[in-house]
């Protein structure tokens, strides 16, 4: 008793083949889409890899690129088969490979589903990488003369302006590190010496933030320095002032950016998985309907199409039996070989 049996005549077969061919070309475009999304994600990770300590995992974008390419190949091949399926002579040369191809397609669909799940799950390692990387990024903000780190200041400034954020968790992170290079500090000045002497590490700490933290929407010119000192500025109360600098932390901002990107890519990959399952089922119908022609020489004869030749349970037991037989067959061969060897001696 076949699973989901459908009767086909010539007209229905032709329509099925044309529809599945059409869907295969959509699937090729979907494969190109997955490939380009993987490429885009990889480029975005590269652009900001400085902020993640060059430590970020490129596993997910590489997987997406690989799956996109394989999807293009499989779907183009499937489309070619569908196109030839209407011509018995051409279809005869594809017939032997079809079963293996369909099994391979099922495996590919499972892998695609796993990729979609990964897109949604890999947000968590990214969070840790970002937290660590940003903390180090801020530490190296002042090292504009150290080779290999001289662009950290510019990268961090541009990122804070672009993502409208300040510091790691919030702007107070800047109060805890020295972000002015020693080259621009006048060590003969009493004020500088006091500040450096006032903490254990000998760092020039101040309650100021870089200019890139400034919020352009603030009605007053930006207050960057002496932020916690209300008397240093006219009509200023740092407890109630909200618009002066960006309130959001950059870890949260970057995470929501990358998280949103990954969620969208995951949703799209799920849709592509559904499309792939659809075309695989369609190809199975095409294959089974062309295999069961009542009269092989008459193209207008009736035929039947199905998803599985027997029911799910029977197919499963068949597969298990086949695997056991293969396992026993190897054992029997080994036994026979072992038996033969002593004989020959």
């Amino acid at each position: 008793m076949a699973l989901m049996l459908v009767k086909f005549d010539l007209k229905k077969r032709v329509k099925l083949a044309q529809t599945v061919w059409f869907m295969y070309w959509f699937a090729v475009m979907a494969g190109v889409l997955v490939f380009s999304m993987g490429l885009f994600f990889k480029i975005e990770l590269r652009k900001r890899s400085e902020l993640m300590d060059n430590n970020e995992s490129h596993f997910l974008p590489n997987l997406l690129i690989f799956m996109g390419l394989v999807a293009c190949g499989i779907n183009a091949f499937g489309g070619k088969i569908c196109y030839d399926s209407l011509d018995p002579a051409k279809f005869a040369k594809w017939k032997p490979m079809l079963k293996n191809f369909l099994v391979f397609c099922v495996g590919f669909n499972a892998l695609l589903f796993v990729t979609a799940l990964l897109c949604l799950v890999m947000r968590i390692p990214l969070q840790f990488t970002l937290a660590e990387g940003l903390r180090n990024g801020m530490k190296f903000y002042k090292d504009t003369d150290t080779p290999g780190r001289c662009y950290m200041k510019r990268t961090l400034d541009q990122m804070q302006m672009e993502f409208r954020c300040c510091g790691n968790d919030n702007y107070r992170d800047w109060f805890e590190i020295q972000w002015v290079s020693n080259r621009y500090l006048d060590f003969s000045s009493k004020e500088v010496k006091d500040r450096i002497g006032s903490n254990v590490d000998g760092q020039y700490l101040m309650d100021g933030v870089p200019f890139s933290c400034c919020n352009p929407s603030s009605p007053r010119p930006c207050i960057q320095f002496q932020m916690t000192n209300n008397t240093a500025h006219y009509s200023y109360d740092h407890y109630t002032e909200e618009l002066n600098v960006w309130n959001r932390g950059c870890r949260e901002a970057l995470l929501s950016y990358y998280g949103g990107m990954m969620n969208t890519i995951g949703a799209l990959v799920l849709l592509v998985t559904l499309l792939e399952i659809g075309v695989t089922i369609g190809l199975q119908y095409v294959d089974s309907s062309l295999s069961t022609l009542a009269n092989p020489d008459d193209p207008e004869s009736e035929s039947e199409g199905w998803i599985l030749e027997k029911t799910v349970k029977e197919t499963f037991t068949d597969i298990m039996a086949k695997m056991k037989a293969m396992g026993k067959g190897s054992k029997v061969e080994e036994g026979a070989m072992a038996g033969k060897a002593p004989e020959m001696e």
Binding site: C150, K153, D157, Y184, D186, F211, P216, P219, R220, H233
Partner: protein, 342 residues
């Protein structure tokens, strides 16, 4: 003697019709492209209209939108006619309109030429509008509590950050205006009172710039205040310091942005003119080839196609005489009416 005649048999006619149909669809796509470029340009002008005193001329983008729509319509119609040209029955219903259609296409090409020229010439107007608008923007930077101008500060800050520029001509423009609102100045402070009194108009001027002028590529934290005072900052010489703030003026930055956009659109329009002209010529050939079939019932007969029925000079004299008779016809009619009335 027809102008540039070409002999056609059935195969050549079919090939010409098919090729022309494809080029017509390409032209429709180009028309859509021009339309979307017009919309993009209009949106860009709107986005930055605050920088231009809301005074900018929307002539060029409106014209581009109109031309794009017309191009789509004209070329789609031409494509339909081409598609039907291979079937004599369908072609018969289009035949009477074809001459007027081709004349309309010539007029449309003239409009395209005008649009292309405007794309290049209107850049001067944009430059002048920008200069005026930016000067006023800098003046109104501090008015964040005046309704209608409260977003000028934000717009100007974001423009300076995005286009990497400072001030109108350069950063010294900020030294000449008061860009801090009086609400944030402590008028009881002696230093503030001195500054306000030190100039005729009673403005609080200083040698500082807003934070949006800062260059992130500078190796040292941004120096915004006391820019001309070397002793106010350690190891600082304002004459040789180049990376501290953006040195370019915003008028130059915005103008180069808009002018490159308008130049590219202009070049595209000129390419479209060439495409449209070639399409028109091919359509004329197809029309004449289908009209001069020796045996109208036999589709496989030979025919001749040309650009003009007579030579160029003769066609011009014909047009002029036609125009004169039209004029004279009106006068004769008027004379006849006048006589009848009396």
């Amino acid at each position: 003697m027809p102008f540039m005649p070409v002999k056609f048999n059935l195969q050549k006619r079919v090939k010409l019709a098919q090729g022309l149909w494809m080029i017509y669809w390409l032209s429709v796509i180009v028309g859509i492209l021009i339309f979307s470029l017009g919309i993009f340009f209009k949106i860009e002008l709107r986005k930055r209209s605050e920088m231009m005193d809301n005074n900018e001329s929307h002539l060029v983008p409106n014209l581009l939108i109109l031309v794009g729509l017309l191009a789509c319509g004209v070329n789609a119609f031409g494509g339909k006619v081409c598609h039907d040209s291979l079937d004599p029955i369908k072609f018969a219903k289009w035949k009477p309109m074809l001459k007027t259609y081709l004349l309309l296409c010539c007029g449309f090409n003239g409009l395209l030429l005008l649009t292309g020229l405007l794309c290049f010439l209107m850049q001067f107007a944009v430059y002048l509008t920008l200069a005026e608008g930016l000067k006023n923007s800098i003046k109104f930077y501090k008015d964040t509590d005046t309704p209608g101008r409260c977003f000028m500060k934000r717009t100007l800050d974001m423009t300076q950050i995005e286009f990497r520029c400072c001030g109108n001509n350069n950063y010294r423009d900020w030294f000449e205006v008061q860009w801090i609102s009086n609400r944030y100045l402590d008028m009881s402070n002696d230093a503030v009172k001195d500054r306000v009194l030190s100039n005729v108009e009673g403005k609080y001027l200083m040698d500082s710039v807003p934070f949006s002028c800062c260059n992130p590529g500078s190796p040292r934290p941004c120096i915004q205040h006391h820019l001309t005072n070397n002793t106010a900052h350690y190891d600082y010489d304002h004459r040789i310091e180049e990376l501290n703030i953006w040195t370019r003026g915003c008028r130059e930055a915005l103008f180069s942005y808009f002018s490159s956009m308008m130049s590219s659109i202009g070049v595209l329009i000129f390419a479209t003119i060439i495409l449209e002209c070639s399409v028109q010529l091919s359509a004329q050939y197809l029309t004449t080839a289908l009209e001069t079939m020796e045996d109208p019932e036999n589709p496989e007969c030979e025919s001749e196609g040309w650009l003009l029925e007579k030579g160029v000079k003769e066609t011009l004299t014909d047009c002029l005489t036609k125009l004169k008779t039209l004029g004279k016809g009106n006068q004769v009619e008027e004379g006849g009416d006048a006589q009848e009335a009396t």
